[in-house]
């Protein structure tokens, strides 16, 4: 072998050894990254309290749009909650493949009107979305919400697998969970539940509605449903909560199906206090809020008032 060849070959072998060793050291003990890291959530959706205004309003009317406007105006009007240029996410309950009259999903007329109000207040973008139980393509259409929201100018998003971010919810039970990104990458969060019976938590209204922001193994949260609900309320703190009590699902909740399970109450609740909202709305379900454990736990955790009259209750 020539000296030149010897040097060349040895050089190449050394270089390869160096690269191999280098890569080994560089990746040694490196934490395996799954692509998406933890999403840093440091926003607040809620607005400052205003003692001069009522804390919770209820409109009783068959004209839903009008009722929503009046209840909201009594609370300070949409401009108090949505500032020009802000991005708003509306979260109705779009859980099930049911028609509006079956009262399993939020009434589309209310969602449509809320979209319109946000845009008139100058919102840069209004997103309407939810993580449904049944197939999103069906639930969004059958509930009438896609049509109503789009007609009023909202962007309706059917959640896709790649739309989740991992967020530290900082709760007692809920720590790191996948959350649909539209619920955290936004400036305002408007919670629009419908009042329904639920066999485990008693009712599913404004607080339980927040389950819908979570992906992952959320069915397992039922094992500690009260704490899960409270953790979610503490994490999200929605800007505004509007409870659809126009039709209330009394039995076979939360998806119903039969019109005989539906009671017509023609009421719309507006508030910034989710505990008060649920405390008022369970009355339509013939329940006492003190008997509903997650409402009680939420009050104990300082998230709101069961005695909704104490924060200023106004019927319109």
């Amino acid at each position: 072998m020539q000296r030149r060849d010897f040097l060349k070959k040895s050089g190449k072998a050394l270089a390869l050894a160096a690269i191999t060793g280098g890569v080994g050291f560089a990746f040694h003990n490196r934490e395996f990254s799954t692509g998406a890291g933890l999403y840093r959530f440091d926003k607040r959706f809620d607005v400052a309290a205003d003692r001069s205004l009522p804390g919770i309003t209820l409109a009783k009317t068959e004209e839903y749009e009008n009722g929503l406007n009046r209840a909201l105006d009594a609370l300070g009007g949409i401009k108090r909650f949505v500032k020009p240029g802000e991005k708003v996410t509306i979260k109705p309950n779009i859980g099930w493949d049911r028609k509006p009259e079956q009262a399993a999903d939020t009434n589309p007329r209310l969602v449509g009107e809320m979209v319109r109000l946000c845009l008139t207040a100058g919102a840069s973008e209004v997103i309407v979305t939810d993580i449904p139980c049944n197939d999103a393509r069906r639930t969004f259409i059958r509930s009438g919400i896609k049509e109503a929201a789009e007609k009023n100018g909202a962007k309706v998003i059917l959640p896709a697998e790649e739309d989740y971010v991992k967020v530290d919810l900082g709760g007692k039970l809920l720590t790191t969970w996948p959350v649909l990104k539209y619920f955290v990458e936004t400036d305002r969060f408007i919670n629009m539940p419908i009042a329904k019976q639920h066999s485990l938590s008693g009712c599913t209204i404004s607080m339980k509605n927040l389950y819908g922001i979570l992906g992952g193994r959320r069915n397992q949260l039922h094992q500690k449903i009260d704490q899960a609900i409270v953790d979610l309320v503490a994490f999200v703190r929605p800007t505004l909560t509007i409870v659809d009590c126009t039709r209330v699902l009394m039995r076979n909740g939360p998806q119903g199906g039969s019109l005989t399970d539906v009671k017509i109450d023609n009421s719309i609740i507006c508030t910034t206090d989710l505990v008060a909202a649920d405390a008022r709305a369970v009355e339509f379900l013939n329940l006492k809020p003190e008997k509903v454990s997650h409402i009680v736990l939420a009050e104990k955790s300082g998230l709101g008032k069961i005695d909704y009259r104490s924060i200023g209750y106004k019927e319109i």
Binding site: T34, R138, R142, K146, E147, L200, I225, Q255, S258
Partner: protein, 558 residues
């Protein structure tokens, strides 16, 4: 019009029909925008399974096995009747599986074996080509006794099944995985163009929800094997295996269109053989076989001396060096009879086992509207369209759940997806009527009609949280879509491990109300093996497989 132009038309036709076929499979997908209030049925906008109904093999097979021809299968006459006059034009001009084999065969090879003299030799008629007739008669024999197996090898069903359950889901996993890998670099400048392309193409090629199919490995390996064999023999599948090709070969017996060989100009260059697709001996000096010819016209286009011509009523100038063509198929009567008899014999062989009716797999839950099992097996061609269209990824190809006889027929696996109560898409796409088309009313039931049931749910009390572990749950009850709910709860006080009394709501199933949709099994939080599961008992299609004595109730008397 020169012969080269006609050949280009044939190439165009192959591409066109392949694209149509592929497009129809892409469109076998729930992407309809229905009107929410009207209460009208959700109907797919295109007749997505129509391509499968053009298969005369599917029509003849179902005719023999069930003595009916499903309405759409009459389209197959559009292929069959012209074949009687023209020969196997379908194989050379239309069949998407044939085109795929054609293209893969024609990719230039580095191997000497597939070049020059070797290729000419391999393109001569070979004895193995008669295997397809044995397969055809074997399957027709089995069909006569009510077991439809032609779907395993019908090229249209095979291609639809392979694309729908293997190729497209693999593409989905691959594309999403690749994009995730790109994203993991965390450099937006790199991610943006890839994300753009992904967002552009994913609505066309990928489903709303990534589908994961049971047992696709067997389907995938089978499909890849067929494609790979083209690298050994040109169009091995079409020449040697395809039972549809065999059927069309039989029907070209009296074709009036064929190859006319003129010995006078031939200089024995054998370019005709070099380009032959069907291995039907187009060269002068050997016997042309009408039944093997795909009418691709390559031989005529390749011939430098105009010695070969396809025409109506071809004249044959027979001489010692130019033997007469034949329209007969190369199979003896005795072997034909043997094929049919083996086909007949295989049915009792399969059914004397226990998989069919005697001890059928309890987890064999068929799609809603499926015909009774014996009729179902007489009609299902395993095209996989129901699996592809199912919006919840609930339907899957079986492996051995329905016995060897029912391999790749649909099974509902509720752990992966449940049957959506208001969805009737699988019945809409079934090309042979193995799954009947239900209306939403027939499926969900009302005051007069009982709901269509596919099974019944059972609780595994050893795994159920409230039953076995004293912890609250009720998710199955929450998800139960019937009204009133088939799952009901009873509050019980149980003692937990610490000796404390805890109140839990324990679920029960009312078999009278349960439709077996599997929403409970799908949603059950006991992840790896659900604590509530469905089995096929109680299915509407069976008289025997029932659990309760009286007939199922309608919502009027429940």
């Amino acid at each position: 019009m020169t012969i080269k132009t006609v050949r280009n038309f044939r190439r165009l036709s192959q591409v066109l029909f392949f694209l149509i076929f592929f497009w129809l499979i892409l469109k076998t997908n729930f992407e309809v925008n229905f009107s929410p209030g009207s209460g009208k049925e959700i109907i797919l906008p295109y007749p997505v399974s129509i391509a499968l109904q053009f298969s005369p093999l599917a029509a003849l097979g179902t005719l023999l096995s069930s003595w009916t021809i499903f309405k759409g299968l009459l389209w197959s006459l559009v292929i069959l009747i012209p074949t009687i006059f023209l020969g196997r034009f379908f194989c050379g001009w239309i069949c998407p599986m044939g085109s795929l084999n054609h293209w893969i065969s024609e990719i230039p090879s580095e191997r000497l074996k597939r070049k020059g003299a070797n290729k000419i030799q391999s393109n001569r008629y070979k004895k193995y080509q008669r295997i397809k007739y044995y397969i055809l008669f074997f399957f027709l024999g089995a069909a006569l006794l009510g077991s439809l197996q032609i779907g395993l090898l019908d090229p249209l069903a095979l291609l639809a099944r392979s694309i729908g359950t293997v190729v497209l889901p693999t593409l989905h996993t691959g594309a999403a995985g690749f994009l995730n890998w790109i994203k993991s670099f965390g450099v937006p400048q790199i991610v943006i163009p890839f994300q753009f392309v992904y967002d552009l193409l994913s609505p066309i090629f990928l489903t709303f929800r990534q589908a994961h199919f049971h047992t696709i490995l067997t389907i995938g390996i089978f499909f890849i094997l067929i494609l790979l064999l083209n690298r050994v023999f040109t169009r091995f599948w079409c020449r040697g295996i395809c039972p549809l090709g065999a059927l069309l070969g039989l029907f070209s017996r009296f074709a009036i269109f064929g190859l006319e060989k003129d010995e006078s100009g031939c200089d024995n260059c054998q370019l005709c053989l070099l380009h032959c697709q069907g291995a039907d001996n187009p060269d002068i000096g050997s016997r042309w076989r009408q039944a093997e010819c795909h009418v691709c016209l390559n031989c005529q286009a390749a011939c430098p001396n105009s010695s070969l011509k396809f025409k109506f009523f071809p004249e044959q100038k027979v001489s010692r060096t130019n033997p007469a063509p034949t329209q007969k198929i190369d199979i003896t009567r005795r072997k034909l009879a043997a094929s049919i008899v083996s086909g007949l014999a295989v049915v009792p062989l399969l059914r004397s086992g226990d998989a069919f009716e005697v001890n059928s797999n309890p987890r064999l839950v068929r799609p809603p509207g499926a015909r009774p099992e014996s009729d179902f097996l007489a009609k299902c061609i395993r095209c996989g369209q129901c699996m592809r269209v199912c919006p919840n990824n609930a339907l899957h190809p079986t492996f051995m759940e329905a016995g060897l006889e029912g391999m790749w027929s649909p099974i509902l696996i509720a752990r992966i997806g449940y049957c959506e109560p208001t969805c009737t898409l699988c019945g809409q796409v079934c090309p042979t009527g193995a799954i009947e088309e239900l209306t939403v009313k027939e499926k969900v039931g009302d005051e007069k009609t009982a709901a269509n049931c596919i099974g019944t749910a059972f609780i595994d009390r050893g795994r159920c949280l409230p039953w076995a572990m004293g912890r609250p749950c009720i998710v199955c009850e929450e998800w139960c879509p019937t009204t009133p709910k088939a799952i009901y709860l009873k509050e019980e006080t149980v003692i937990n491990q610490k000796g404390e009394e805890v109140k839990v709501k324990q679920p029960y199933v009312e078999p009278d109300l349960c439709t077996g949709c599997g929403a409970c099994e799908y949603a059950c939080p006991v992840i790896n093996k659900a604590a509530i599961y469905i089995t096929s008992i109680g299915e509407s299609r069976s008289d025997k497989n029932q659990i309760i004595l009286e007939s199922k109730k309608t919502s009027a008397n429940s």
